[in-house]
């Protein structure tokens, strides 16, 4: 079974490929495969019929089954089991499926583009449906169930360009998925109650399963079945689903998919028909559906819709019979299921042929087809007669048994039984009437109705474009022939279905079990049948030809309207919930996140036992306390500072204070690095934000000041407590006790921190410098947008005093204008410039003292940075500190001499610097591999230099060189982006705005060195 299913799904996946090769002839292949599957089911006959139908898998004389474990932890397995019910359904699915595929080979035009995926979906549906009926595992059953739902959605929406098709597809999906999800709850609940997800196990232990929980679980499962089989109040999706191509209607919405609900009822009925909600739901809704469906079918003018509402009606009928839970009803239900599949699929195919050849399905337009298309008429007459329950057809045979079982049920159960029987007879009469209406509407020669201008005259004869060929007619003809065949020779079916019926008790021990036959003798049931024919034909004769003569159902009962209103309310509710939770305010989300991050650890700390830490010291020394106060003051200053730069300064104060703490704790590397970083951050901050207004004002001042303060304090407190508890409970020896000897003997360096960075944990550092390069690229791309290395003018082309010149004094106050003039007078230099590009700056921006200091210090700083880099292996320093210091030197050059000075100081692309840095780092990683070592393994090279004497060169120092280059690249990139480029932009804007109007730049960028 598993192999067959797998093959079917595989073929479905390959179908679009076949389609691109063979076009619509692919349908012949699919027909062949499904026919083979149909024949395959016959091989099970001799095994399944004598088997013990209710024996679970593994029991002696159990029906054939295959089990593969899938998720053993959850008890989910690929369990398939072939009993009578599954066998009958499999035959219906594969048999009708093969016929539908054959029909498709003519239904679709030759070059239809969408037909490939369509064929794949239709074929996959056959596989999914087969999987559904074979599944013996509740979870697998549900998966196949939903698979059929999804495929039905795709197939209904085949004509995706039509609103009606799209809407119908979504409607069918929503309704059946809704039912499916409710069913899932019921299935899982039942599985938990029974302690097994094996369907056969659950049914075998059904006798022990009782109580309200089981009742409710079964009711939930029934809701799934009812929604799938389109019973009231879910019936409206099925007529709308007629937007699908007719083969789909014939297969999914008549013969196969809608039968899934019936199948489910038939599957659970042997064990659970006596639960509290079963019979009221099945009989009540079934009868209501049967009546409403049949009544509405009588009013339709579209022959396909007559069939659709007829199907709704018949599904109610089937639900009642299959759910009744008596021996006779089980036999009748299965027979009726088969009969309905045969005649309804055939009729849909006939409708498709008419639509295909005339371009309409409107019975007020169609006229006189019967006379011209004899074979079609014969096929339809047979199928319609079977639908109406006329002898000698299988529909009649099945309906006789159904009446028989309801009659027997009524005799035993009294009033309610008679009510049900009466309802069924009435609905059957309506069925006869709409059957007649269908045949008349599709084939009869008609006259214009009263009220038409040409009332009374004959409608024009409807012409077929083509004569439907034998292949097109073959499928419905075969199905109609089967209807006759099973009526004449019902014994094989009787033998097949008897073991299933034997699962049930007879309604009364005295009642003889019924059997399938054309002639039972002159029984009251035959009288009932005759009554339905007479009533039905009379109704058709009086009212059936004019649908308007019948009253429409009141609007309040229109389930589709109800559906649309509820979907709209659901949409509104979803939007409401979204607008309440997804408020669009980042601050709000952060607040929630931080509140959770505070609340959850607080709860954990509060509700678990902790001892108060015993070892406290106030501080390592008084200096630490002083610095601590300074740091906190800096932090609070950032909150109260009214201006950006004051806030930045106070935050820098924190950084310097923390650098001091590092030094006091005994971490000189950290102190050095943090000092350098803080200095550079300060400069970068000022450079980036100089174009923004000085004051931190906002258009929407942040609210909830108190709440935020409370949250901040709470979070800080929780981290303090958590840190104290964690540190107090530390038991393990730190891994780093091994570091000193490792760094000295293996890493060949005395500075443990540095060796850790470039050797012990070198992969971390390698990752970090990659991040640095990425961040620098990010900065550059945010500022330059297009390309990083903008070609600047050559230094000698730049006119003296042109950079950052205040072009007009108009925007300045008299006091500012005077300041500018004084600054200009100081900036005139007589002698050669101290810096190469100093002359390019506008006089008001020059500071000669700054230029001189820069001139004196630049080379010294660079030398120190190289020293830090090389000596860092043994003394505080290293690639990071060295790189930062060198970067600081370039910051000095830029601040003193402007952007041309920066270009003169470092004529390389920042990207190239970082790229070389990464390359060097990679190189030190890869070289040891070449010599058979591990990546990044250090080695020592002893050099005997003539003047400098003996030297040890450790390879990891080379890695530090890579770090050094990356850090310099980062800082240069940041300087060029946030410094030079913003300079250029503000100057351009300045020039534009100098003619008139106030620019933000002209007011804020004054006084900042360019």
């Amino acid at each position: 079974m598993i192999i067959v299913l797998a093959v079917l799904f595989a073929v479905s996946i390959l179908t679009p490929l076949f389609f691109s090769w063979w076009g619509r002839s692919t349908f012949y292949l699919l027909t062949g495969i499904l026919s083979a599957a149909f024949l395959w089911t016959f091989f099970y006959l001799p095994v399944v019929i004598p088997a013990d139908q209710d024996a679970p898998i593994g029991a002696p004389n159990a029906p054939p089954a295959e089990v593969v474990s899938w998720i053993p932890q959850l008890g989910v397995e690929l369990a398939f089991r072939m009993d009578i019910l599954a066998l009958v359904m499999s035959m219906l699915i594969t048999g009708v499926g093969a016929a539908v595929m054959l029909y498709c080979a003519r239904y679709f035009p030759r070059g239809e583009r969408g037909a490939g995926p369509f064929a794949a979906q239709l074929f996959a549906f056959a596989a999914a449906m087969l999987g559904l009926v074979l599944s013996d595992d509740l979870v697998m059953l549900f998966i196949f169930w939903e698979l059929t739902t999804v495929l039905s959605f795709l197939l209904i929406g085949y004509s995706a360009h039509r609103i009606f098709a799209r809407r119908s597809a979504i409607q069918a999906l929503v309704v059946t998925t809704f039912g499916g999800l409710i069913m899932l709850v019921g299935l899982l609940w039942l599985g938990e109650l029974a302690g097994s997800y094996r369907l056969s196990d659950i049914l075998a232990s059904a006798a022990e399963l009782n109580g309200t929980a089981v009742d409710i679980a079964l009711a939930l499962i029934l809701i799934g079945a009812i929604s799938k089989s389109a019973l009231v109040p879910f019936h409206f999706w099925l007529p709308a689903a007629m937007a699908a191509p007719t083969p789909v209607s014939a297969y999914l919405h008549a013969a196969a998919m809608v039968k899934a609900g019936i199948y489910l009822v038939a599957r659970f009925a042997p064990g659970f028909y006596d639960t509290a909600f079963w019979l009221p739901l099945v009989l009540g809704l079934g009868l209501l559906t049967m009546l409403i469906g049949a009544y509405r079918a009588l009013r339709q003018t579209d022959i396909k819709l007559i069939l659709a509402y007829g199907t709704v009606s018949q599904l109610g009928f089937l639900m009642m019979v299959n759910g009744l839970g008596t021996e006779d009803a089980a036999l009748a239900g299965l027979a009726m299921l088969l009969a309905h599949g045969l005649f309804k699929a055939a009729l849909f195919m006939v409708v498709g042929i008419i639509d295909h050849n005339t371009g309409t399905r409107d019975l007020r337009v169609l006229s006189g087809i019967g006379a011209a298309q004899r074979p079609l008429l014969i096929i339809s007459a047979v199928a319609v007669a079977s639908m109406a329950g006329l002898p000698p057809l299988f529909g009649f045979v099945a309906k006789e048994v159904v009446f028989e079982s309801f009659y027997g049920y009524a005799e035993v159960n009294g009033t309610w039984g008679w009510v049900v029987l009466g309802g069924v007879v009435l609905a059957s009469a309506l069925t006869v009437a709409y059957s007649a209406r269908f045949l008349w509407g599709a084939f009869a020669a008609k006259r214009h109705p009263a009220g038409h201008p040409a009332a009374g005259t004959a409608l024009p004869q409807t012409q077929f474009h083509h004569h439907p060929d034998a292949v097109f007619l073959a499928a419905p003809a075969l199905l109609a022939a089967a209807t006759v065949l099973f009526a004449v020779a019902p014994q094989p079916l009787q033998q097949l279905m008897e073991p299933f019926a034997a699962l049930f008790e007879p309604v009364d021990p005295a009642v003889e079990p019924t059997y399938l036959a054309l002639w039972h003798g002159l029984t009251p049931v035959l009288g009932l049948s005759a009554l339905t024919w007479a009533l039905g034909l009379g109704l058709f004769w009086r009212r059936g030809r004019n649908g308007r003569a019948l009253h429409a159902l009141p609007e309040a009962l229109d389930a589709e309207r109800l559906y649309r209103v509820s979907i709209r309310h659901l949409d509104d509710f979803a939007a409401w919930v979204t607008s309440k939770t997804q408020r669009g305010s980042l601050g709000w989300y952060l607040f929630i996140i931080m509140a959770v991050a505070t609340g959850v650890p607080a709860g954990v700390i509060a509700f678990t036992g902790h001892t108060i830490p015993g070892h406290f010291i106030l501080a390592e020394g008084p200096m630490q306390v002083v610095l601590g106060v300074l740091i906190i003051a800096g932090g609070l200053g950032a909150v109260w500072a009214p201006k950006r730069f004051i806030a930045v300064l106070t935050v820098s104060l924190c950084g310097w204070g923390i650098a001091g703490q590092f030094a006091l704790q005994g971490a000189p590397d950290l102190a050095l690095t943090l000092l350098l970083v803080e200095s550079i951050i300060l400069v970068v901050f000022v450079l980036a934000l100089r174009t923004l207004p000085a004051g931190i004002w906002t258009q929407n001042p942040t609210r909830f000041r108190f709440g935020r303060a409370l949250l901040g304090a709470g979070f800080g407190l929780i981290v303090m407590i958590a840190a104290a508890i964690a540190m107090d409970r530390r038991v393990a020896e730190p891994v780093s006790v091994e570091y000193p000897w490792m760094s000295y003997d293996v890493g060949h360096g005395a500075n443990i921190v540095n060796v850790t960075l470039v050797d012990i944990r070198v992969w971390d550092t390698f990752g970090e410098i990659s991040v640095l390069a990425a961040a620098a690229t990010g900065v550059a791309s945010l500022i330059f947008v297009k390309r990083r290395d903008v070609q600047r003018r050559q230094l000698h082309e730049v006119p003296t005093g042109s950079v950052g010149r205040v072009l007009s004094d108009k925007a300045l106050s008299p006091r500012q204008a005077k300041e500018v003039q004084v600054a200009r007078s100081f900036a005139t230099v007589a002698r050669e410039a101290w810096l190469v590009a100093g002359r390019t700056l506008a006089p008001e921006h020059r500071s000669i003292i700054f230029e001189v200091v820069t001139r004196l210090m630049f080379h010294a700083i660079i030398l120190i940075s190289v020293y830090l880099l090389l000596a860092g292996h043994n003394t505080p320093g290293g690639g990071f500190a060295g790189g930062l210091l060198a970067g600081l030197a370039f910051v000095l050059r830029y601040l003193a001499g402007g952007r041309y000075e920066l270009e003169a100081a470092i004529p390389f692309s920042a990207g190239a610097l970082m790229g070389w840095g990464l390359a060097v780092a990679c190189f030190t990683g890869v070289v040891p591999l070449i010599f058979g070592g591990q990546a990044f393994q250090s080695f020592v090279v002893d050099l005997q230099l003539p003047v400098l004497g003996e030297h040890h060169l450790v390879s990891s120092v080379l890695f530090d060189v890579g770090v050094y280059l990356v850090v310099i690249g980062l800082i240069v990139d940041v300087l060029r982006s946030l410094g030079s480029e913003i300079d250029v932009r503000s100057e351009q804007e300045h020039r534009r705005d100098s003619a008139g109007g106030h620019s933000i730049h002209s007011q804020t960028s004054l006084g900042v060195a360019r």
Partner: protein, 174 residues
């Protein structure tokens, strides 16, 4: 392990002020908040190395435990430099936001506002009444003539059209 109260309190204060600033609307303050939070976290990592010790430069006669634990220091060094890169990136973002929108604030998401506005709104296509179609082949091309097939070839076009609209109306009503 001994707990240094000063470092603990300073860390808590940094985090508290940092969270407070992080929740502001002004982007500059948010960035300052991030810097303060990273300061606080740095102090937390520093505390895990325990009491103050000797600088971790290997010298003779020292026990491994005499040095200040070098592992947190290596982590911190990495963290400090990464924080610098992040600050630079955020600064560039703030500048960009200023250039593009002339604002340096965290603004509310317009898309979310739009979602809130859809409550009770009607989609015309969703809500339109569409009649049932009475053929799948209305717009099919007739292979014989190469033209779009008329609704009912048996009748004149306008007649067929009225019949069709009547049909769809009837189906819609029922």
């Amino acid at each position: 392990m001994t707990i240094n109260l000063t470092l603990l309190v300073v860390m808590g204060a940094m985090l508290a002020v940092g969270i407070y600033l992080l929740l502001e609307r002004s982007l500059t303050r948010v960035l300052l908040g991030i810097i303060l939070i990273s300061n606080g976290v740095n102090l937390l990592i520093l505390q895990t190395s325990g009491r103050a010790g000797e600088p971790p430069i290997v010298r003779d006669g020292m026990e491994a435990g005499d040095y200040l634990d070098p592992l947190p220091q290596a982590l911190l060094l990495t963290a400090i430099v990464i924080a610098f890169a992040m600050v630079a990136l955020l600064l560039a973002l703030i500048y960009r936001s200023w250039v593009l929108g002339r604002q340096d604030e965290v603004t509310d998401d317009e898309e979310d506002r739009r979602v809130a506005a859809t409550i009770g709104a009607h989609d015309p296509e969703e809500d339109a009444d569409v009649g049932t179609e009475t053929s799948e082949f209305i717009d099919a091309v007739d292979p014989a003539t190469g033209t779009v097939r008329s609704v009912s070839p048996a009748e004149p076009r306008d007649d067929a059209a009225t019949a069709l609209t009547e049909g769809s109306r009837g189906a819609g009503e029922s």
